[in-house]
Amino acid sequence: MTALSSPAARRARLREAGVTAVLALVIAALAVLGLAVGKASVSPPEVFSAVIGRADAMTRFVIMELRMPRMLTALLAGACLGLSGALLQSVLRNPLASPDVIGVTNSASAAGVVGLVVFGLSGFALTGAVLGGTLAATAALYLLSWRRAAHQLVIVGIGISALCTCVVSYVFTRSDIRDAQDALVWINGSLGRAGWDTSLTLAVCAAVLLPVALCHGSRLAVLELGDDPAAALGVKVDRTRTLLLGLAAALAAVAVAVVGPLPFVALVSAPIARRVTGTGSLALLPSALIGAALLLASDLVAQFTIPGVLLPAGVVTGVVGAPYLLWLLVRPGPHRV
């Protein structure tokens, strides 16, 4: 971060702070909305009194046991995914890079489906299995592309992800049709299973990973200049890149382990953040916030668009993400991927 004192830089920082504040407000509004609406509608003042423990038992149960964990899970998972995508796209220098593409989410699908269908896991055990599987796949990905350029890591990731897809398909053919359908719901990223246990797991992991990742923002900005300039500026390029890739994978793994492989949240958050902050540079905190807002909004839309049908949030993020992706692929201009 050079020339902190220049007026332009100050304006940019001011704008970023403003955007962050607005995003925080949007998230708060979405969160209250998420707590208030549902089969049993609760007014915002009642939500507040339920949170501080003064509402009647029924309202408290609905808010604190049913909706609060779901809301928190969406918030944290979205933030993790958004940040993970931002880190990956920046480190791999490709707007198409995201945990969806390089195999992190697919390995989570495979681990989750095997856990769900073959071993009948649920709750904590399932989360643990998915986390383990995803981290193992990420470690494999990293070791296999050891000392290779970033684009090779992407290809290896795509290979791993194709393999994982096959595992999922195979398990589907071997399982009971009801199990397969359960697994399919999970695969598409659903918040339906969210409870206090899942949101606490997520909170603990996020509390460790988010600050570390956010602290590395400045080094990431230097890394975006290119390997040689970054090295000249005193950044240990390889080590930083490894660390950041690991962080990105871990963030995605944690989120996916809880909510299942939600498509596209990680892919779209960072570019949106870049655009709204308008600095053209990487905006980690806004990316995380946009991820959270996206997931909260998608979950609301998924719950209430078709009355009586609880769609998984992943269907909504998929429908939103796909057109963006196509635009990314066909748009003209020098920034074409």
Binding site: H151, G159, C166, S169, F172, T173, L184, G321, L329
Partner: protein, 359 residues
């Protein structure tokens, strides 16, 4: 958005084994033809195995008898002729289709990582099949035509993306990333439809994995015309592909009709991929593996590498199918799973070899 392309340090995106600056080693016709004969022998061996091996292993004598003196009253003969023979024939056509499509795709896009599975073509076929099963309630084998249509659409789209970026040169990585992203998008639509339709999921899951199980003669006869036509077109375009490997301008200055070659090649990819995927479901990596092996053995000349692929593809696919029937007897591992298990490590090896010393 300061997006830097990933081309830094990217090795030359030319087709595998494209003529290098140094004088390419002249390949003799004799050894190459001998190699083709050896491959043909291997194919015969694999096919015999495929007829004999399975939940109910049969001696070769019985297989021979079933083929020469077919007796419908004999259950062993029934297994061989009604079950394993069509399955093997479908395996041959599918293997040929995927492999030749892989070679042509790699030549056409000048991209060593082109593969019907990796470029998102399979996902297009999946989406079409899901729509056929769920929305149109298609019965029986009719979904094959939808798979064909889906494959065609996505092939054209991917080709469009590759072509649009072609002036500046779409790097191999960009194309594969685009394929992965398209796959992710289409897959999420597929899942959304399947979630609301259990019956479709029940049918879909057995096609989705990529299998030769329970394919009968109807499937074979439906697949054959497309594959045959695609193969003929591919072979007809092979000289032109050789020219394209040197770059569009060079090819044009050598007097080649570049547009015509591209059209022929693209049409053959559509026919080959479409028929193969329709018959066996989405199978990734088969095209990639075989195209690489063919280029490695037969060299850069498509007039040789296409016949090599046409023989090696069936050997791979039927071989993997046999392997799948052996490893988890008496059940079976679908051929798509086996091919991916073989192919994914190979992709990693290829990528690591390409990166060596060129970082």
């Amino acid at each position: 958005m300061p997006v830097l392309p990933v081309t830094r340090g990217t090795p030359d995106p030319a087709a595998p084994g494209a003529p290098t600056g140094a004088a390419p080693r002249r390949r003799r016709i004799g050894p190459l033809a001998a190699g083709l004969l050896a491959l043909a022998a291997a194919l015969v061996a694999v096919c015999v195995l495929s007829l004999a091996v399975g939940a109910n292993a049969l001696p070769f004598g019985t297989v021979w008898q079933a083929l020469t003196h077919y007796d419908p009253a004999n259950p062993h003969h029934l297994i061989v002729v009604e079950k394993r023979l069509p399955r093997t024939l479908v395996g041959i056509t599918v293997g040929l289709g995927l492999a030749v499509a892989g070679v042509v795709m790699q030549g056409l896009t000048r991209n060593p990582l082109a593969d019907p599975g990796l470029l998102g073509v399979n996902a297009g076929a999946s989406l079409a099949v899901v729509v056929a099963l769920s929305v149109f309630g298609v019965q029986g084998n009719a979904y094959l035509w939808f798979a064909f249509a889906g494959t065609t659409l996505v092939t054209v789209a991917v080709y469009g993306v590759a072509g649009a970026a072609g002036r500046g040169g779409a790097t191999p990585v960009t194309l594969v990333l685009a394929g992965a992203a398209v796959t992710a998008a289409l897959t999420s639509v597929v899942t959304a439809i399947l979630l609301t339709d259990q019956a479709a999921l029940d049918q879909m899951r057995f096609w989705q994995v990529g299998a030769l199980t329970a394919r009968d003669f109807t499937v074979f006869w439906q697949t054959l015309p497309g594959i045959a036509a695609g193969f003929v077109l591919a072979f007809a375009a092979s000289r032109g592909l050789n020219g394209l490997a040197m770059g569009e301008e060079v090819a044009r200055s050598l007097g080649q009709k570049v547009g015509l070659v591209r059209g022929f090649a693209a049409l053959s990819v559509v026919l080959l991929c479409g028929s193969a995927t329709a018959a066996a479901g989405p199978i990734s990596f088969a095209g990639l593996i075989v195209a690489h092996l063919a280029a490695r053995i037969a060299g850069p000349d498509h007039r040789w590498s296409i016949p090599y692929a046409a023989l090696a593809g069936p050997v791979l696919l039927v071989g993997c199918d046999v392997l799948g029937r052996i490893v988890v007897r008496p059940g079976e591992l679908q051929v798509g799973v086996v091919v991916a298990a073989v192919g994914a490590p190979l992709l990693v090896v290829l990528i690591r070899m390409r990166g060596k010393g060129r970082r």
